[in-house]
């Protein structure tokens, strides 16, 4: 059996946590960017005389 010596690493939980929530945040940002682009098109249309 291999013995692993390691100290408690408070950063481990943060690392794996980012991987878990990362996809949802990427999707949320994508939706936000998409919405901004769509609303910009409507704003441009409204500004036209």
């Amino acid at each position: 059996m291999e013995t692993v010596l390691a100290y408690i690493d408070a950063g481990s939980g943060s690392f794996i946590f980012q991987v878990i929530v990362g996809s949802a945040m990427a999707a949320s940002l994508g939706a936000k960017v998409f919405w901004r682009r769509v609303s910009a098109i409507f704003r441009r249309d409204q500004e036209r005389p």
């Binding site: 481990s12 939980g13 949802a24």
Partner: protein, 332 residues
């Protein structure tokens, strides 16, 4: 001229800081040179400086230092910060502004293939009233697929104390003095009211994050298993989500005996008020950092203590009023 190492500069051996002739310098070792070249060559440095997010520097031609230490590649002379302040001395608006500056710097870094290795509040100072990152060597080439190594630090240094100050009690910012590595997230999660679990930003970055830390604290394989699985889009999403969480935190000053100290109460005779204005105005002229000073209603130029409660108020459509804004408002 003798180089004097700064005792507090020990965490990053590739970008240590020392003073020479009273001026702070930073050295870049051969191992830190790759990151430095990327910072300068990718256009990131110019982008950061043009947005006034990073302290400017000049490279110093110094054959003497190369002779003494062959590992030193460059010597930088950054713009000097005349007044060092600490996060527990800031009002919530300053901490918030510093957090948003850090996130904006990280966003620009991602655009240029880099990432912040540190997201410490100690890396931010206020120059002319604006938050500026002072650690030039905290930018590193982003390891492809790695999560943000400074995510936990950002939450501990910025998000947790800001949430506690804005939602529970502003005096809790003093906890930063006891926790120099930032507020432990489990402590912040315990101190925050249960209703904060309904705020998406805090629910994720503080409460769930603290639980994840507890769960994986004694699991040494977790960190390596997370490597290579974090896309650039996820990284951008994380930074955007953090910005949303920080932006949603605003401090509302509570009623205090100091609120109307100058306006309502006849605390000073006119002559005494005039003398105090002159005294504080003179101090502000000498030290343009504006720390600990704030607008005192009709009593401009500047009044301390009572003004501190107001320094977090924002003008509609503008950035937080801090330091130099106060000086600008006073026409200095």
């Amino acid at each position: 001229m003798t180089d004097v190492p700064i005792a507090g500069s020990f965490r990053d051996p590739h970008g240590q800081v020392f003073t020479r002739g009273g001026l702070v310098h930073r050295l870049v070792t051969a191992e830190g040179a790759r990151d430095y070249e990327q910072l300068m060559g990718s256009g990131l440095y110019d982008a950061l400086v043009s947005e006034r997010l990073l302290v400017e520097h000049a490279e110093v031609d110094d054959p003497q230092v190369h002779a003494v230490d062959a590992a030193v590649e460059r010597v930088l002379l950054p713009a000097q910060v005349p007044f060092i302040s600490y996060p527990w001395e800031w009002c919530p608006g300053q901490l918030r502004a510093a957090a948003l500056a850090t996130l904006r710097a990280q966003e620009l870094a991602l655009d240029h293939g880099m990432s912040l290795r540190d997201a410490s509040a100690f890396n931010v100072q206020f120059l002319g009233g604006r938050p500026v990152l002072i650690d030039t060597s905290s930018f590193g080439v982003r390891p492809e697929g790695d999560p943000w190594v400074a995510y936990r630090q950002f939450c501990q240094h910025f998000l947790a104390p800001l949430a506690l100050a804005c939602i529970v009690d502003v005096r809790l910012l003093g906890l930063l003095r006891a926790h120099l590595d930032g507020l432990p997230l489990d402590l912040a999660a315990t101190l925050l009211p249960a209703r904060t679990k309904l705020r998406p930003g805090l629910a994720v970055h503080l409460h769930a994050h603290a639980r994840s830390q507890r769960r994986h604290a004694d699991d040494p394989g977790t960190r390596s298993s997370a490597r290579g699985r974090f896309s650039l889009q996820s990284f951008r999403g994380l930074v955007d989500s953090l910005r949303g969480a920080v932006s949603g935190l605003e401090w509302e000053p509570q009623a205090s005996a100091w609120n109307d100290y100058y306006d309502a109460a006849a605390s000073y005779a006119p002559a005494a008020a005039q003398a105090k204005e002159s005294l504080v105005g003179e101090a502000a002229r000498r030290d343009r950092s504006g720390h600990g000073l704030g607008p005192g209603g009709e009593h401009r130029p500047l009044l301390p203590v009572g003004g501190r409660a107001r320094c977090d108020r924002r003008r509609p459509g503008s950035r937080p009023v801090v330091g130099g804004d106060v000086l600008a408002a006073a026409g200095r």
